[in-house]
């Protein structure tokens, strides 16, 4: 019972859809999503550029989520490809997070396909350097990104060239600094 439960918890969609044989020991065996990741990497490499992908790995902590780090110049094109390609149809952008890693910024996109049936997630990361961070906007690809990018710009100060209306969204327009940066010092600590 407990074994079975663990499996359902680890990877519920797998067990349900029977896409792959269930691996009980994920840590030793290759991840069930490895081959899916390889396919996506292959697709990007053939269609966009050989060096579009910085690194691709499986996030085992997060239910074997395939993660791909894309180099930012290729991001918009890759985004279009991910959304349009018949194989993936990642048409649903569920979340965008911005992270300040002190050495660099990272924007994480969680994508999902609503139409292909095998509703599997993909995580895309794009990095930006600490000085003058900038990542091309993908609002034209997924409208969801609109406010999310504004929020990241507001709180982390990452620029999104191509965004239709990149203004502060949470903080007042005259706010100084970007609060979610690790080195943020409020002008007035009382506020």
């Amino acid at each position: 019972m407990s074994d079975q439960k663990q499996v359902t918890e680890m990877d519920p969609k797998e067990s349900k859809k029977n896409i792959e044989n269930i691996e009980e020991e994920v840590t030793e065996e290759p991840s069930p999503n490895q081959d899916r990741l390889d396919r996506i990497v292959e697709l990007i490499k053939t269609n966009i550029a050989e060096d579009a992908i910085e690194v691709a790995f499986i996030n085992e902590l997060d239910r074997d989520l395939p993660c791909i780090v894309i180099r930012s110049p290729y991001w918009v094109k890759t985004a279009m490809l991910l959304k349009e390609s018949e194989l993936l149809k990642l048409n649903y952008l569920r979340n965008v997070s911005g992270i300040d890693f002190e050495t660099h910024f990272e924007v994480v996109y969680y994508l999902l396909s609503m139409s292909t049936g095998n509703q599997l997630d993909v995580c895309i990361k794009v990095k930006a350097d600490r000085e003058n961070p900038s990542i091309p906007s993908i609002t034209s690809v997924w409208n969801t990104a609109n406010w999310n990018e504004r929020e990241i710009y507001d709180l982390l100060g990452v620029q999104f060239p191509g965004h239709p209306n990149l203004k502060r969204i949470m903080m007042p327009d005259d706010w100084e600094g970007h609060p979610l940066r690790k080195d943020y010092e409020p002008i007035d600590p009382e506020v």
């Binding site: 997060d62 997070s97 949470m170």
Partner: protein
């Protein structure tokens, strides 16, 4: 010579129908909206920044205050994320308790929505009726965890309190009572011609744009997309229960109304089964170290909150505090489609559409 001008109307941040401090600047031509610009952030409390200096347990009460109409699901998404990172197994009894409170919370949240939506449309009494039933749920929660709105019930690894004696029976008794009241609601509102005229065909969008705008929950399911995280990417123990995902295809305010209404019924179904299968005995907390230090890594968990997909993205550096905690707040994402829906509608429909999206400002502003 008649001179006509566009009227720039500032709706909110203080307005009876914006459900909190939400502002929307509309350009009106007569009563028809030609442009709408939402302005948010009036309730921004910086939960994500605060969380960087708090331990995981300390963050949970902050999540209560995000979507304050549905605090239980917020609690759960954070706990679930940490548990996924730590690969914890939750005791059976705790899972059941969590599931029961989450489904009760869904009903309570939809009741608040139902009442306030009709208040927006101009009917007064449904609000009071809905609150009568919600009050029963809130009282049950109060008995269970000692608070009526900000529950702070779940902990990483389980729940804080076991169900007090007779509590499960109260939930059991509540189910037929609520079913009866739902019939009454249906008689009161669902067939009312004025109501139907107000909501049918108002604020329509198709599945394509719903997906494009990342809508979730009833807002997505009202367009015919059958996507419910409880079924499609099950978490907790939802895969053990038999329930349907209500779907409508019209994509208007009425479809959203029907979906939410049906969701209450489905929640009751889940509750019925959960109460029957509720384990007699068992632990309510997994073995969790005193100081929670998840391994270094990253996780994104998402669950189906009453308002849609609520997600929690944690970046952990093996410290007691999260390095970065980001919530995918469904109201925030769902609200983005509003300006698109409003163009060409009247002032009256602004209220109907905004109410139909079902936002909670605490969650929009985070």
């Amino acid at each position: 010579m008649i001179r006509t001008e566009e009227l720039l109307l500032n709706v909110g941040p203080q307005h009876p129908s914006t459900h909190g401090v939400f502002r929307i600047i509309v350009k009106l031509d007569g009563e028809v909206i030609t442009e709408a610009t939402p302005v948010i952030g009036y309730l921004h409390r910086g939960t994500e920044k605060l969380a960087e200096n708090l331990t995981y347990t300390q963050v949970i009460p902050y999540t209560d205050r995000m979507d304050y109409v549905s605090a239980m699901t917020n609690n759960y998404v954070l706990c679930h994320a940490v548990e996924t990172l730590m690969d914890l197994e939750i005791p059976e009894r705790a899972e059941f308790l969590r599931l029961i409170v989450m489904e009760l919370q869904r009903i309570a949240s939809h009741l608040v929505w139902w009442g306030t939506y009709l208040l927006d449309i101009g009917a007064m009494s449904p609000f009071l009726y809905a609150f009568r039933e919600r009050e029963m749920i809130v009282n049950m929660f109060n008995e269970l965890c000692g608070a009526r709105l900000t529950y702070f019930y779940m902990r990483v690894g389980g729940v804080k309190w076991d169900a007090p004696e007779g509590w499960i029976d109260k939930v059991r008794d509540f189910i037929p009572y609520m079913r009866e009241k739902l019939d009454e609601y249906e008689q009161l509102v669902s067939g009312n011609e004025i109501f139907l005229a107000r909501v049918k065909g108002v604020g329509t969008y198709d599945a394509q744009s719903a997906i494009d705008f990342g809508l979730s929950g009833a807002n997505l399911r009202s367009t015919g997309v059958k996507f419910d995280l409880r079924k499609d990417q099950p978490y907790s123990i939802y895969d053990r229960f038999d329930f349907d995902v209500p779907v409508q295809t019209a994509g208007d305010c009425y479809a959203r109304y029907l979906v939410r209404f049906e969701e209450i019924k489905q929640s009751l179904r889940i509750l019925e089964q959960a109460v029957e299968q509720f384990p007699e005995d068992g632990q309510i907390m997994a073995k969790v170290p005193r100081v929670i230090r998840p391994p270094e890594g990253e996780v994104y968990t998402r669950i189906e909150s009453p308002r849609g997909e609520i997600g929690c993205h944690i970046v952990s550096k093996k410290k007691p505090q999260p390095y970065r905690l980001k919530f995918r707040r469904p109201s925030f994402v769902n609200l983005q489609i509003l300006p698109k829906l409003l163009v060409g509608e009247t002032m009256t429909n602004l209220v109907t559409i905004l109410g139909g999206i079902d936002i909670v400002l605490g969650e929009v502003d985070g």
